[in-house]
Amino acid sequence: MPPSAPAQAESLRPRGKGRPRTAETAAPSLVELLNLVRSETATTRQELERHSDLGRAVVADRLTMLGDLGLVDESELGTATGGRAPRLVRFAARKAAILVATLDQTAIGVGVADLSGNLLTEHHEAADLAAPPEQLTERLSALFRWSLDRHTAAQGVWGLSLSVPGAVQSGTDGAFLTTTPPIMPAWEGFPLVESLTRGFGVPVWIRSSVETMTMGELHAGAGLGQRTMLFIKVGRRIGAGIVCDGQLFRGAQGAAGLIGSLPVTSGGQTGSLDSLAGSEMIQREGMAAATDGRSAVLADILRRGGEISAIEVSQAAQVGDAASISILATSGHLIGQVVATLANALNPDLIVLSGSIVQTNDILLAAVREAVYGASHPLVTRDLRIIRSQMGSSAGLVGAARVASEALFAPAFLKEWVMQGSPLGHPAFSDYIGRLADIPKAAPAAPPPPSRQGKEPLA
């Protein structure tokens, strides 16, 4: 039986005299088999032998090791195709949990996911991103502890993944973050990654909300099984997530898809797409329509003491308010023009629009469709579907979980921890945790109030 290429590479490592121990040479084949099982490319021993080119004895040996490590489960029987029913090899996705969170301008969401990135629970609540970072981090931590207390009492946590509003620079770190990348101006200098790693003892990842939502849509939403997809998030900022060959394309700096800063022209005015089509424009124009008599529906909301946000304008458009329809059509056409350029460059199978403005009315989607179809090559739009996301804010949480699970099981990273049975035993992570413990906290938070002490779930 020929050894696999990684196994050969492994065997070239300097070592002592005599035969290498299984533990030294097994890692590459364990990585390969575990990822075949995890991706469900292979679900029986026979399939594993076929896909890995490893012999029966090696597969059996490695599966025993993975079983002992608690990473695979062979307790289930498959369907017999003549002869005995094969034993199914399943990834033990519940071996540990991943904590996930989304931060956006007006809300935070937290969740617990399994190692395959499936969300087990989620909670969303209103929050002000302009609040001090210490306060928001403390709230996030409290909600994480509450979620853990309820859902993973018997399990460990292997990672923590965050989704934040702005672009997150890539290439500054290795497999996991060891410093806090610049994410938002107000958070500059705040050791978010360090605080969370200290607090939960797990590796941390951060991606932009557009990236995590794109990952969520790709793996659990309308993008399931798609190779080429554009994901457009419409909010105060407008951003695009680009999927090529089934993978999220991040660009050289992690800044791919920042379409909101592109210049557009509307009504003789030139400005960025964010400023002329984003939710601030919709809110501003909605307020003007309410006060100058163009919109009876919005004026009625004001009269009843309500506030007008882009959501109200969006809902008013849905019930036929002419002024609101016009505002959303303008926004949709501008977004559509920019998206058409991207669509002509990438030729996607699917374009998914997301964000609460898109979700609460049909007008914006229709306007985007009209603009894209009108400005694209016929071949680009022949089979193109332009739809609305059905995942809501869950897309960000699901996607954040996928970011962590893909990083944890990336072959180069997995190889270094698989023999320990937990990524927390990865040498680089152990080293990082050790260094963090030696460094005094850079910005110690104020002592927690009495109600937050002890081991209370939300404390």
Binding site: Q390, G392, P449, P450, S451, Q453, G454
Partner: protein
Amino acid sequence: MTISGLGPHGERAAPPERVTLLPDDRAAAKTAGWRVGVALHTLESDWAKQLLAGMVGIFGDCGAAVIDVVDCGFSPERQVAELDRLIALHPDAIISLPVANEQVAAAHARVSAAGIKLILLDNAPTGLLPGKHYTALVSADNFGLGKIAAAGLSPHLPHGAEVGVLGFAADFFATNEREIAFIKWLQANRTDIRVHVARFGRIDEAAELGERLVSEHPNLAGLFIVWDTPALAVSARLAARGRALPLATVDLGEAAAIDIAKNGSVRCIAAQQPYQQGIAAAQTVILSLLTRPVPAWIALPGISVTRGNVVESFQTIWRQPAPKEVLRALGLSS
């Protein structure tokens, strides 16, 4: 009244007015003759009775037949079996209150996969998405209810007090939100207070758990229990042991209304509006069957009930006069 919570997927709440039926809608529904099945966690609570009353009335107005109303007895296994039985009856829509999270998710997904409109009440199992696995969720603003309860109990708690929270062990959107919001309100407004949490799996465990919490933390000055039936069970058990603690809870059941009127343990109730919720759920079913777009999450605001407004609150919520015992306790009737 504003909605302070977010939906199970972070959705912004739509008010029940969004699913108002117009005369044309009712007329169109009447010609269709739809059949609807209902699967609730229990049929025994006042909440469930009022919800059904609101719901069935609207279906009657729209010529839709309610072909079965199932009591799932808080059991996930029973709910799964009952949903599969309802699916086999091929109704046009099913209204269900999922009694658990993961355990009942697949059975609910089977409803929509069978081409039946699924309207959820109070809870959306994780992984099920609106528009894909279900049409809409209709619930109270449970986050708001937790805040109301905390604000109502706070004046009865001395500085530096310890408070017990009895939550529900099942992973349930509504009770999770109440618990999180109650504690969050205290953390924001009463940083002097220390909270102890315990969770019961079944209603009949609540009294014992409450008693244990109180004995483990003898300095407790108040309790929040996530709905009224277990709250009154705890109150009765503590009274039998000679203890009385100020309580806050959710749902203005008849017994809770009597307790609050008689200056019993219950000091504040964050009340849902089950009758209105039933109406909103039925209207959502009708609109979705008429292929009109409906919001993913329709939320009804809670009402803060104290001894001072228990009579009018009872009338508002239950659409009937307050019980004689309530009126007598307040000197409004002899």
